[in-house]
């Protein structure tokens, strides 16, 4: 009989695979067998444990010791020292401060006191095994819903929870569902928007890689509430591992009778199909995404009609972000009141952020709504790299806003940031230290919009080109004060006249960079 005394959780996500996690896994399994420990040590795959840019990462339980930057060459020593002799291998330990001997889960920088709803299973279970998800009370919410709740009850519970869309627009989720539910017609569709393209954002990728079943369960609940029988997940073409894992998870769910006809012997039938995108930022806009799903160029549609009335193939359609749907099963299982215990009054729950740039430990975090930027940077991400000074941050990706040091203590949620003419957007936080060049960053942002403008409407097509011309001139100190004014004026007109959010977006990064870093930009004026 085997009695497992240690579990080694190996993070397998796109980032660690890139760093050679598969080779380390192979070496680890071989070395454990060589030492005759196969019965005692279990090597398990899991999704992202929350660190990024730290090479191959693993956690050894029950001690909860985190190792980073592990190579196949390190494996024999690691197995001998830690798994055979029980001495954690200090040189590979992930340390926020190298002084600490053993970094426990609570102390390991990124994972510090994170309230986890969406990421509860990420980096804990093996995303490729449905049984592990079920063991964590997975599929319990849909089980309860199908046996003891009417679709209206599910909708009502989500409404009471105050969940709003996590893709950036923060529209109340239940309201979207209700519109589609009430729309006439028998055939309705649910689409999960996983076309994550906002620069600096990769939360949806890590949710898909780390806990795909949570998305499936969320879609089942949403489909039940809306009255849809088909769901689509539109994933960007670059997310190879996400596509692979989600397809695997869907196949497992079908095997278990959790997708298909008469699920759990109820009258509810639902299935999910994966659609692979082909590289177009504008397809993140819901009507452009629908066009793309139908096999067309991804041009946005005129609204109204809204997708809830006439979406995919003209049928009532709900489009929700990955993170939004990943909240739903937790809300149904634990109740709306439990959910409202997190976050702020106006904005309950948590937000998943990707924090990157000049911080000590970039990564994926989940924090309660209302957490300040200061806490996110200094408590979760270990502060600024090399102990430098904080200069500013770009929040919400390219379509987001720059914030200066005086915004460090503002509570961040969808509602509160609006009062400061900022947005939470997709939850990307790009941190700049004192050495960062704001003009260079703004230039990159504006080039991005020009590249991604779909060309459908004139204000965006022509406007983005003009913005690039102006910022390119300013960047090489050949711009004038008038050029700077033009940047503001043109982007303001674009905000009023563009067809879709893409062309409406450049105003925010431009105006906010001038607001906080006007002196620095002014110094580049000829």
């Amino acid at each position: 009989m085997s009695l497992v005394r240690n579990h080694v959780l190996l993070s397998i996500d796109a980032g660690t695979v890139m760093a050679g996690a598969r080779a380390v896994e192979k070496a680890l399994v071989e070395e454990i067998a060589k030492q005759g420990l196969t019965d005692e040590i279990a090597v398990l795959e899991t999704g992202s444990v929350g660190t990024v840019g730290q090479g191959v990462v693993m956690v050894v339980y029950p001690e909860g010791v985190y190792y980073s930057n592990v190579t196949p060459e390190d494996v024999p020593e690691l197995v001998e020292e830690h798994l055979l002799k029980g001495r954690p291998l200090k040189r590979l330990m992930l340390a926020e401060t190298p002084k600490q001997a053993v970094i426990t889960k609570e102390k390991a920088g990124l994972l510090k006191e994170q309230p986890r709803i969406v990421l509860r299973n990420c980096g804990v279970i093996d995303p490729e095994k449905i049984d592990e998800y079920i063991a964590e009370e997975g599929y319990m919410a849909i089980g309860n819903a199908l046996t003891s709740m009417k679709p209206e009850d599910v909708l009502e519970e989500v409404k009471r929870s105050g969940l709003v869309g996590r893709g950036g627009a923060s529209f109340p989720t239940a309201m979207k569902w209700e519109f589609a539910r009430r729309a006439p017609g028998d055939i309705k569709y649910l689409i999960c928007n996983a076309d994550e393209g906002e620069p600096g954002t990769f939360k949806d990728r890590l949710i898909l890689e780390g806990d795909p079943h949570k998305l499936i369960e969320g879609m089942l609940l949403a489909g039940y509430a809306v009255g849809a029988s088909k769901g689509f997940v539109y994933i960007r073409g670059e997310y190879a591992l996400s596509i692979e894992r989600l397809e695997k998870a869907i196949a497992q769910a079908r095997d278990y009778g959790l997708l298909g006809v008469n699920i759990l012997e109820s009258n509810f039938s639902f299935d999910i199909f994966v659609m692979k995108g082909a590289g177009a930022y504008v397809c993140g806009e819901e009507t452009a995404l629908i066009e793309s799903l139908e096999g067309k160029r991804g041009h946005p549609r005129i609204k109204p009609p809204f997708p809830a009335n006439a979406g995919l193939w003209g049928k009532p359609t709900v489009v929700n972000n990955v993170e939004t749907l990943a909240n739903v099963s937790e809300i149904i299982r634990n109740g709306a009141d439990w959910f409202r215990g997190y976050g702020t009054e106006k904005c309950p729950g948590t937000k998943v952020y990707t924090i990157i740039g000049n911080v000590a430990t970039p990564g994926l975090i989940e924090a309660e709504m209302g957490t300040t930027l200061r806490d996110i940077i200094y408590e979760y991400a270990g502060g600024i790299q090399g102990g430098k000074k904080f200069k500013g941050a770009l929040i919400g990706g390219a379509a987001g806003a720059f914030l200066g040091p005086d915004m460090l203590d503002v509570q961040m949620d969808f509602v509160n940031l609006k009062e400061y003419a900022a947005v939470l957007g997709s939850g990307a936080i790009l941190v700049m230290d004192e050495g960062a060049d704001v003009v260079d960053l703004l230039q990159s942002v504006l080039h991005f919009f020009k590249h991604e403008s779909c060309g459908h409407c004139a204000p965006c097509r022509l406007g983005t080109a003009q913005l690039v011309k102006l910022i390119d001139r300013i960047a090489v100190s050949k711009g004038s004060r008038e050029d700077l004014n033009k940047l503001l004026r043109i982007s303001d007109v674009m905000r009023d006249t563009s067809f879709c959010p893409l062309g409406q977006s450049p105003y925010l990064p431009i105006s906010s960079s001038i607001k906080y870093f006007g002196d620095e930009i002014g110094a580049r004026i000829r």
Partner: protein, 152 residues
Amino acid sequence: MYREAILKKFRPSLDNILYILHDLQDNNPQRYLGKDDIRVTAEYLNVPYSYVHSVASFYTMFSLEPRGSNIIRLCDSPPCHLMGSKSLLKYLKDALKVDIGGTTKDGKFTLELTSCLGACGVAPAMMINDEMVGNLTPERVDAILERRRKES
């Protein structure tokens, strides 16, 4: 003919067009969508040639020009910019002796820029074919190019 085998994998329904184009491009030796690729897709889906062309030209993952056997897509988005992608672009251009969009004389590499790859945690990052590589430095780029040169 391999193209027919690819088409048969999919229902002749317009919503499969991106899947079909992905598959045809991946299997084209020059890693692009040529006139034949567009034509067979149009016939299979019963839409005009111009329609398929317009869809293919819209998405950045599709190329209508022949490309090298390895496609490098360097991320050009703000997070990678902040972490030094600009100097890497110059390094890649010099190392490969091509401009953006160009293919090396030996046909082994095509250099492209891409918007955010969602690998911002390991910025600066790029994709080479299907492989994502991050924490790039000139030394790492050299090693990657060297390995690919030998393989192809």
